[in-house]
Symmetry: C2
Subunit: 228 residues, 2 copies
DNA sequence: TCCATTCGACATGTATACATATGTAGGATT
DNA sequence: AATCCTACATATGTATACATGTCGAATGGA
């Protein structure tokens, strides 16, 4: 029998995290499978089936599924069963609109708060040539990450991270950004970087909002074509 | 080897019907205790201790704690143990800044999207007299809810809801809004409602941002005084 | 006295057994 | 033939047993 003695409320031990936990591996694996489209929207995420597939018990599976729900990649359906979250066109629009607002807020803050070195690095990122689609994707990510960290607001950055995770499933599963979009996108990046370099917060905000909206338009059009 | 001896004589298990699940009751109880301050920031949330306290096993406790973490009310510390989340002044500032950005984005959208009836209702809310502090608190909530729903963006509304949950712990635990703040706040509400009624999105955004920042200033000052 | 080592208590991580609810198939009833 | 009822398969909800790691106190030696 357990006899609970308890810790003082001031207990502040800091210890290295335990090794590779099953729940953590599951989470990463499922996340990548959902984002890559291997697990399509609407696919059932049965505790038992996943436990058998990964050779673990249901307990870590439960934890991973709860985390997935938290990330917005899974949702509960009938009988509280988990499914890969399926977004309709409207929810997708909401999601991109939210991303646009949050990221433009971050960009506006970054315009005030970035150091001179960060501003120059951002412009360099915007100007860097992309040899391939993978290159471009990487540059794109680094550009947006630079703005996220330049804003000096962990809470907003975290919000945007969560939203990006939810949109990435659609971005990755449905298309590689078209060549022409890359060109346009690069031009937008450069405008944004310039506005930030000039510490013009409101222009930055407006440019970034339009930039995200453009991404949404392109994706929505592709989805609509596929839907036909 | 594993030897299962059956249930103790005192076994009075009853698997809860959906909707009255142990994990759900735990979540609501803990949430209210944290927000009310009964469980202060930094307090340990031990699985075993909570399981014994509520007379359930660790499994539903785990689920409730994961949900609390999701809501930002708990965090994992040493050895992955859960604690009531403690925010420093900096994180609090981040939080309010994020709230300001998100809510001002919602307000700007509402300025474009609210129906005429909603606009009038909002002005009525802003003008309504508050007989008591509780009244004012209720009016305040309804005012902000009206904007949230008028923006027609569930994703942004959900983000703001999560942020509000995290700040409410501090608001509730630390102070009742001072009389003078009520007066100022009401004036700000009226300005915002007017800007929305005029569909002036940018003015709305700016007013709302300032409004949230004001709330933060007042709270921060009170916290600083207590800290002295 | 002070420090290194050992060991015990207890934390979380995981596996598994049991409880209960629900969808479904198939037969009985009307 | 349509409907209802029941048994069953299987899902999630929960409890408990076991695994492993860490902290802190006790201990023993320099």
């Amino acid at each position: 029998m357990y006899t609970y003695v308890g810790f003082a409320a001031t207990d502040q031990r800091k210890t290295a995290p335990l090794g590779h936990r099953a729940a953590e591996i599951l989470l990463e694996t499922l996340e990548s499978e959902i984002v890559s489209g291997a697990l399509p929207p609407g696919a059932p995420l049965s505790e038992l089936a996943l436990a058998e597939r990964f050779g673990v018990s249901r307990t870590p599976v439960r934890e991973a599924l709860l985390e997935l729900e938290r990330a917005g990649l899974a949702e509960r359906g009938a009988r509280r069963a988990f499914f890969v979250r399926a977004l309709g066109a409207e929810e997708l629009a909401d999601l991109f609109e939210a991303s646009g607002e949050v990221e433009s807020a971050l960009a506006a803050l970054a315009a005030h708060r970035m150091t001179e070195i960060e501003r120059q690095a951002l412009i360099a990122l915007a100007e860097a040539p992309a040899a391939s689609a993978a290159d471009y994707s990487d540059l794109n990510r680094r550009f947006h990450d630079a703005i996220k960290s330049g804003a000096r607001n962990a809470t907003l950055a975290q919000l945007l991270g969560g939203l990006d995770l939810r949109t990435s499933a659609w971005r990755a599963a449905n298309f590689h950004e078209a060549e022409e979009r890359q060109t346009t996108s690069r031009a937008e990046h450069l405008k944004i970087a310039t506005a930030i370099a000039q510490a013009d917060a409101e222009r930055t905000r407006s440019l970034m909002r339009r930039h995200v909206a453009q991404s949404h338009s392109v994706l929505a059009e592709i989805l609509a074509r596929r839907g036909r």
